[in-house]
């Protein structure tokens, strides 16, 4: 079966310092990989590489279409949350419901708390329809209910043949392969 993401001998340097060299990585349908490692070990850079937003120094990155949730909110602050999310995906309502944001749909984005904003970025990923999800510190700011909702979204996505690549310092629930960077 064709993998959703494949790194072949990928080397990345930031500011002249190698973050990783000749990294091999394959992510197929239904798989999930937890990226771990100390601060500055290149977890976020690896996600941006996988998203195609950075170019590798060497090696090949192959991927399908991806959705990324990182620190950037990327939602228009003056719009109500529902409308701001629908700018990115017309059918966002189901994802809004799934992340428990339904009662906030009419609230302007600028009034959201950081945890609610995190839920919104995760809802955008869920609504994207992309087979590969890239999540940068998905648990930051989430409460217990948020974590549960994210877990069930990820489980559903994997069951439907999707893959997830997540960078996180905390342990992730469920069955994840693990890649330790910066060693």
């Amino acid at each position: 079966m064709k993998p959703l993401l494949r790194f072949e001998a990928v080397t990345l340097r930031r500011g002249g310092r190698p973050l990783f060299e000749r990294l091999e990585l394959t992510l197929g349908p239904g798989e999930a990989l937890h990226l771990a490692g100390p601060n500055g070990s290149g977890k976020s850079s690896l996600l941006r590489l996988a998203a195609g937003l950075l170019r590798a120094e060497g090696g090949v990155v192959e991927r399908t279409s991806v959705a990324l949730a990182d620190d950037a909110l990327s939602l228009d602050r003056e719009l109500p949350l529902g409308k701001a999310l629908r700018f990115w995906a017309a059918g966002a309502d189901q994802a809004i419901e799934a992340m428990g944001l339904a009662r906030l749909a009419d609230v302007p984005v600028r009034l959201l708390s950081s945890g609610q904003a995190k839920r919104a970025t995760l809802a955008r990923v869920a609504a994207s329809g992309a087979p590969l999800w890239l999540l940068d510190e998905p648990l930051n700011g989430l409460d217990g209910d948020g974590v549960e909702r994210l877990d069930s979204l990820i489980a559903g996505h994997r069951a439907a043949g999707g893959a997830v690549l997540a960078a996180s310092h905390s342990a992730l629930n469920g069955d994840w392969a693990r890649l330790e960077l910066g060693q």
Binding site: R48, A51, G52, L53, L54, S65, V66, A67, L68, D70, D71, A72, L73, S74, D76, E78, F87, W88, R124, S128, G129, A130
Partner: protein, 216 residues
Amino acid sequence: MSGPGLKRLIARDVRRAVSGAAWLPIAFFLLVATLVPFAVGPDAQLLGSIGGGALWIAALTAALLPIERLVEPDRADGVLDQLALHGVAEESVAVARVVAHWLTFAPPLLLAAVPGAIILGLTPAALRAALVALAVGTPGLAALAVAVAALTAGLPRAGGVAAILLLPLAVPLLIFGAAASGGGGSSALLLEGAVSLLIVAGAPFVAGAAIRAGRT
């Protein structure tokens, strides 16, 4: 996965510009036009002969004001990254932005040029020539503003750097635009149109490459 189309991008940019401070460059334009009679005195003949050029200087300085909100907010907030993930080319983003910026910048500027021309003592014929020249030049000015905004996005003191970058590049527009406003005839207007079209055609590629190169 299909991203927002060009029409939705333009609609979003127009909405954000209008709900932001779209009137600010226009107020600035009128203010600069008002300063000229104070600086050179109320001599109607002198004002009439420099009025067309003064309108252009006012338009150029007004074009500098919106630059910092054209690209940087969306770069910093990850919107440009998300658009790339949704398969929207950076060049398309730049085209949408040029169109939206022109729509929110040029019509109010042309409206404001009427009181501006009266302040500067332009005759009705000179006003007409100035309006045509501004209408032909503003697409180039809008495209230049977007390209410079993309080139300076994320830099410290971007506003100052943008001014130093934009004003020299706008000199060809200024030369032919002011000549067309000041009765330089149709050849000046044609050359101004050529310069304006050239900038409109090139700016999206410059802006697109700048957005890509600016990713970290």
